[in-house]
């Protein structure tokens, strides 16, 4: 009898260990696969922005996107990841309630040197740090790329890279630390809830772009002497529209990476949760994302009939409900995303009437709609817990006031650094491409390749 019990105990232990290994490998694989899915966002940005550019600037637009991605990823490794863990409680860098924040904690896990380096490279005993870092690095690169489209055809390449680094490896990271971390002061003191990062990614990036646009100025020929605007069409609308669809595809990876999986030492309680420890499922995302895309397309179609704005509406649809994709009922998502699609074009027109040349409507799609989404959750989900598992006593619930405070902070974290850094670059002569070069075309001046060396007309078929 005792032998049988010992055997059963050993078997149980072996099964338990095997189950834990499977769980760990699943969690690692889950986040790992979110990374190439998010790479699709960048394939989308590349196609979208090159298509939205005039023929003479096609390749220089693409180069800008490639470098924004590369430098943001690398600088996020050098210091961006550290900021996320160091700053949740504010610029003091003190430790928060959950004891997973503060400068001391960040020094221990997020620096690529010293003892901390064990979490920043190959480690047989660590299946989590690399995939979490990778997913966050792609969040960072995505945020930096959002700004990119607004500045096309007149921003200098290196100046733009500096802006991308500041946005992708600092500005949005501060917003994430404050509003997307269980110790973030916006969460613990104001109950801010932004599951899919409508505010802390999209709004920060959109308003950062606006801050830059104030200093960068419009493309040559965009505005007439009387202040009226000219439409500057890109050279390839199909490429632009397909690029936008690729961004949508990539956002499935972005949003799945916002879920904290169960059963690991770093997991919250429950079966699956948000970064705030509130419970949710992938099924909620399945309902929400595709309905939001559809609502946004229809909303934009109502007034524009334009495929560019319809696909921008799809993106706006997702952004408008991103804050509450974990808790919205699907029919609410249809309504909110449709409203986002409807107000998109009028909001973009307003920006243009203010004399701002936002070449692809990034300020509106990401900035305005991002804030709209954060505020809508304050209306729709007031009273719902903002932070759940292990929340300290007295943690506020979601309120409109809390979401409003979060919105103001996200706007400031975008527009202030965007304006200041671009002003410095302008003073250094590193921001705007000279007008003569803009007229000639950026590709012919600085790119040693041709976008379409054989022209756009294919030879007639002889097989008739």
């Amino acid at each position: 009898m005792e032998e049988q019990i010992a055997l059963l105990t050993a078997n149980l232990e072996a099964v338990t260990q095997a189950a834990q290994t499977t769980n760990t490998m699943f969690a690692e694989t889950y986040y790992f696969l979110s990374i190439p899915l998010m790479m699709i966002i960048h394939a989308g940005f590349l196609a979208y922005e090159m298509g939205a550019t005039r023929l003479k600037n096609t390749l220089s637009s693409g180069i800008k996107n490639l470098l924004a991605f590369a430098f943001t990823i690398i600088t996020f490794y050098f210091f961006g990841w550290w900021f996320y863990w160091a700053l949740p409680t504010g610029f003091t860098g003190s430790e928060g309630y959950m004891a997973i924040s503060g400068i001391e904690y960040a020094n221990a896990i997020a620096l690529p040197w010293g003892d901390s380096a064990q979490y920043m490279g190959p480690n047989i005993a660590d299946n989590a740090s690399g995939v979490f870092w990778g997913a966050f690095a792609l969040f960072a690169a995505t945020t930096a790329s959002i700004m990119s489209g607004a500045l096309i055809e007149r921003v200098q390449t290196v100046g733009f890279v500096v802006l991308a680094i500041v946005l992708g490896s600092f500005a949005w990271v501060v917003a994430a630390a404050w509003g997307w971390h269980a110790d973030g002061w916006l969460v613990t003191e104001w109950g801010v809830h932004d599951f899919g990062a409508a505010g802390l990614v999209h709004a920060v990036a959109g308003f950062f772009a606006l801050g830059v646009l104030f200093n960068l100025g419009p493309r040559v020929g965009k505005f007439n002497a009387d202040g009226s605007a000219n439409h500057i069409a890109g050279h390839n609308m199909p490429l632009t529209v397909v690029g936008l669809m690729l961004i949508i595809v990539g956002f499935f990876g972005f949003l799945m990476a916002c879920i904290i999986l169960p059963g690991e030492s770093w997991s919250w309680a429950g079966t699956g949760t948000t970064i705030y420890g509130t419970r949710m499922t992938l099924s909620a995302l399945a309902f929400g994302i595709v309905l939001a895309v559809s609502g946004g397309i229809i909303g934009a179609w109502v007034f524009t009939r334009d495929p560019f704005w319809m696909m921008s509406g799809a993106l706006a649809g997702i952004i408008s409900v991103a804050s509450g994709l974990d808790i919205y009922f699907p029919s609410q998502i249809i309504i909110i995303s449709m409203i986002a699609g409807i107000i998109l074009k009028p909001c973009a027109d307003f920006v243009e009437r203010c004399g701002i040349d936002d070449a692809v409507g990034a300020v509106t799609v990401h900035g305005t709609i991002g804030i709209f989404g954060v505020l809508m959750l304050g209306v729709m989900a007031a009273g719902y817990p903002a932070l759940d598992a292990y929340a300290p006593e007295g943690t506020p619930v979601i309120t409109f006031t809390g979401q409003l405070v979060g919105s103001v902070v996200f706007i400031l974290l975008g527009i202030v650094p965007g304006y200041i850094v671009s002003a410095i670059l302008k003073a250094m002569g590193m921001l705007r491409v000279p007008d003569a070069v803009q007229l000639k075309g950026l590709d012919v001046v600085k790119v040693p390749a041709q976008a379409y060396p054989e022209g756009m007309t294919s030879p007639a078929s002889e097989d008739v």
């Binding site: 690529p112 040197w113 003892d115 190959p122 480690n123 005993a125 390449t157 001046v445």
Partner: protein, 53 residues
């Protein structure tokens, strides 16, 4: 800091580091390379604009 040599993968149970020097040394070199690349890019870009003004 935890660089080591070993004869079998069975000896590897935690963090791995290979190479001469510390991880910090390699990180500093990587930072310098990135800064130099940016500086060279800025210089080249300015030269191209100056030629066409």
């Amino acid at each position: 800091m935890f660089g080591f040599s070993f004869d079998s993968w069975a000896d590897v149970t935690g963090a791995m580091y290979i190479g001469v020097g510390s991880e910090g040394t390699w990180t500093v070199i990587a930072v310098v390379v990135c800064v130099v690349a940016l500086a060279m890019g800025a210089s080249s870009e300015k030269a191209h604009y100056d030629k066409h003004q």
